[in-house]
């Protein structure tokens, strides 16, 4: 009697077969416009499921299709294949053209984060224009990070999840060429002892 009831319980909580899990992950991910983390997918699937395995199989299934499963901003999302972008572009919202200053500032924040305004100016060799950081914050690509624990405790800037999502990056560690730049010593701590290097900005 008690054995049968245990078997019933097992059946009740048994994870669905792998094929079914794949369908479930597919439905959950297809339904969302934003990337979903593995934890979020796990929370929505029946207990005992293996969402990691389901995602791997799904990504393989969609490889080369018009829609692909990609890892982005700390999660997974279905996205149209890049080579077909021209078909959808007519529906794309026209985005503001970013100034060179804005693009460079964004790159510096992305590669050096967390980075202070003074450090950004030091790298670019010009004073940060009013509005450049404001625009990047407005676009939700950049936000305030933790204060730097140095005299004056200056505010730092970091990139956001929306930045990763927009540029199709799984995480900030996946920025192109990050390792090479690090190896070349171009991303480390500020290289100039104060007052000894070339002038930074007026």
């Amino acid at each position: 009697m008690s054995g049968a009831s245990e078997a019933d319980m097992d059946a009740l909580f048994a994870a669905p077969p792998a094929v079914e899990q794949e369908r479930m992950a597919e439905a959950i991910l297809f339904a969302s416009a934003e990337p979903l983390s593995l934890a979020e997918i796990t929370a929505r699937m029946p207990m005992g499921s293996d969402p990691g395995g389901a995602i791997t199989r799904l990504a393989e299934r969609y490889a080369g299709r018009g829609v692909r499963l990609v890892e982005v901003a700390g999660g997974w999302a279905f996205r149209t294949a890049p080579d077909l972008g021209f078909l959808m572009r007519r529906e794309a919202e026209v985005t503001r053209r970013l100034s060179r200053a804005a693009v460079e500032t964004l790159a510096i924040i992305a590669y050096h984060q967390p980075v202070t305004r003074v450090e950004i100016e030091e790298i670019r060799g010009v004073a940060a224009s009013r509005g450049t950081l404001d625009l990047l914050i407005e676009l939700d690509w950049v936000c305030l990070g933790p204060r730097r624990e140095t005299p004056g405790r200056p505010a730092t800037f970091v990139t956001t999840a929306a930045f990763l999502e927009h540029f199709g990056l799984p995480s900030a560690k996946d920025l192109p060429g990050l390792e090479e730049l690090k190896a070349a010593g171009l991303l480390g701590a500020p290289t100039e002892p104060a007052g000894q290097g070339a002038p930074i900005a007026p």
Binding site: V70, T80, A92, L106, G125, P176
Partner: protein, 266 residues
């Protein structure tokens, strides 16, 4: 090409090394211009020769001056620094010096140019990525039927600060408090007089024993003098001090009573 393309490196302002005609407006500051000049050396930035670069820049500034073209201050600051660097590179190095050597400064400048160049290339690479809403697209019709609706509020520190500055007077606002005038207490004055007179025998002016920081400000002075006066009367009543005033409005003099006893005993 997406509609949001950024200025390509190739589109950057032209710089003719022979004529030194430079469109300053096309450059984002002196470091940017130095980088463009460094490129004309056609070598890896790692192997750039800083001395000819400094000379090229100084020649440009000289030329601009002769043509009476006004350069922004930061271009001139850079020129001054490069002139100094040049002198350090040309003069024999001092044996012992706390100053960084010309070679050190040149190496740091080369590193800065390399770093700026690296960030230029990184930003171009970033912008060339397949971007959401331009090259790749998300599901157009999400099917999320929210039942257990969890609201995530989209508000960040920047929103908070913008809101705060919108409130023009907020930064200067102080909650309304009825300010009690500052009062120097009679008790405090008595303590102070007792302490001061403990080491004296002769007559002295009452005000001389009141705290100087209270006498400095008009409102505080009034309170200190009044309390000092009341305290002196109280001490006189208790037989601890003698008071004396030569005439109306003359300074009130005070001495300890034991001085009087000593005097009469003598």
């Amino acid at each position: 090409m997406s509609p949001l393309e950024t200025t390509d490196v190739a589109e950057r302002p032209a710089l003719d090394p022979d004529t030194l005609t430079v469109d300053v407006d096309g450059f984002e500051g002196p470091l940017d211009m130095l980088l463009a000049m460094a490129r004309t050396q056609k070598v890896d930035l790692r192997r750039i020769s800083v001395l000819p670069l400094a000379e090229q820049y100084l020649a440009f500034v000289e030329r601009a001056r002769s043509k009476r073209i006004e350069l922004a201050a930061d271009y001139l600051v850079m020129a001054a620094w490069l002139a100094y660097l040049k002198s350090c590179l040309l003069l024999p190095a001092e044996e012992v010096s706390d100053e960084p050597s010309g070679e050190d400064m040149a190496a740091r400048l080369a590193l800065r140019l390399e770093r700026l160049d690296a960030m230029r290339r990184a930003s171009a690479e970033l912008m060339a990525r397949d971007r959401l809403g331009q090259d790749v697209f998300a599901r157009g019709a999400p099917e999320t039927v929210a039942v257990n609706r969890q609201v995530r509020w989209r508000v960040g520190l920047a929103d908070l600060l913008r809101a705060y500055t919108r409130l023009g007077s907020a930064a200067h606002y102080r909650p309304l408090q009825i300010e009690r005038p500052e009062v120097y207490g009679v008790e405090a004055a008595m303590e102070r007089l007792r302490a001061a007179l403990g080491v004296r025998l002769d007559w002295s002016a009452l005000v001389a024993h009141l705290p100087a920081d209270w006498l400095a400000v008009a409102e505080r002075r009034r309170s200190a003098v009044a309390s000092g006066f009341v305290a002196s009367l109280e001490l006189a009543k208790r037989g601890e001090v003698d008071l004396r005033q030569a005439e109306a409005f003359a300074p009130l003099m005070i001495r300890p009573r034991r001085a009087a006893t000593a005097e009469s005993a003598a």
